[in-house]
Symmetry: C3
Subunit: 138 residues, 3 copies
């Protein structure tokens, strides 16, 4: 069995921003020398999420709108009374997005569907963040 662990470093200029990280993840997979395996793409934070969706940037805006409707900024959140960062909605949106993904690796490559794109959804940005890619296989 082989394994690899790499960090992807990200820093967004906006508080909320959705970034395509497909190329960065592909690079870790190629560099790993692993032919068959599973790749965990895992944010080291709790106010961001990695998810797979269509390669259409308008859809990332739509997702932001849907999440803003489900977790309204003007709601009352207990977390905001205890944490000076007042970022309750950031954490709650990340939880609804599923946080991390596990992707198939086949013949040394990410085994994705035609339009599948890997997104990093930042909900509390403008600070350095890290996404861990951990691959196991052989």
């Amino acid at each position: 069995m082989k394994s690899t662990r790499e960090l992807i470093h990200l820093e967004t200029s906006e508080k909320e921003e959705i970034v395509n990280i497909t190329r960065e993840v592909m690079k870790v997979v190629s560099g790993s020398g692993i032919g068959e395996g599973l790749a965990l793409v895992y944010p080291m934070h709790t106010s961001s999420a990695v998810y797979v969706s269509d390669s259409d940037t308008s859809l990332t805006e739509d997702l932001r709108d849907v999440l803003a409707a489900l977790v309204p900024e003007e709601g009352r959140y207990r977390h905001n009374e205890t944490d000076h960062k007042r970022n309750a909605t950031s954490h709650l949106k990340a939880a609804l997005c599923g946080h991390h993904v596990v992707l198939p690796v086949t013949e040394g490559r990410l085994d994705l569907g035609t339009y599948q794109t890997i997104y990093y959804a930042e909900f509390d940005g403008t600070r350095p963040k890290e996404v861990l890619v951990k691959i196991i296989g052989e």
Copy 2:
């Protein structure tokens, strides 16, 4: 280490339909010869999702209702202005459902709880679709 990669082929007759694929996934696990491992059950699309829930078909209807309330068909979506398929809600529902699952394999079988059932939720159907089952273990 062993690995296996199989595709489950699906085609729904409705645009939106939730299908029990437990038997098909079990068959891939049995055929893999893997005793202990992890099975990724992964739609090759971005407008469908695989999830685990109770073996009650009335609940699949309830989930459809909940998702329809969270991502209303009559909403305004940027994706629908750029994509002729106008299937923004399909992608957004798939994202909220979590897209894929990872299941335990123990003693050559799916290691599921008593009532656990694996569902494929199609949100943009009537076309051929594929779910990849990638298992690694030994």
Copy 3:
């Protein structure tokens, strides 16, 4: 390749309750003797979910509020007409929470971000429940 399978036993005193299980999962990882791998933390039920979030208990209350708004108790659910437990909302909340997580294991430890905490969200409690931890690696 090595693998391990352990059950964490839980029983909540409330119907709905969110419990920190980080320590229990860490113990399984230490005991496994696995240095590099992936840990699946998987509820054996369909009315509970495991998720990763911030180490702030006020946030678990906020998540309960958000889920209660998205899947209102007073809604009409088909499942409640067929199942005497009338626990449709329990299943639907678990589905929206993503059900299970896959966590990185590095140098024999859970490879979590600074504030990351593993939560078990029970939506139909007061009964004995089990969370399976399945780790593969070497």
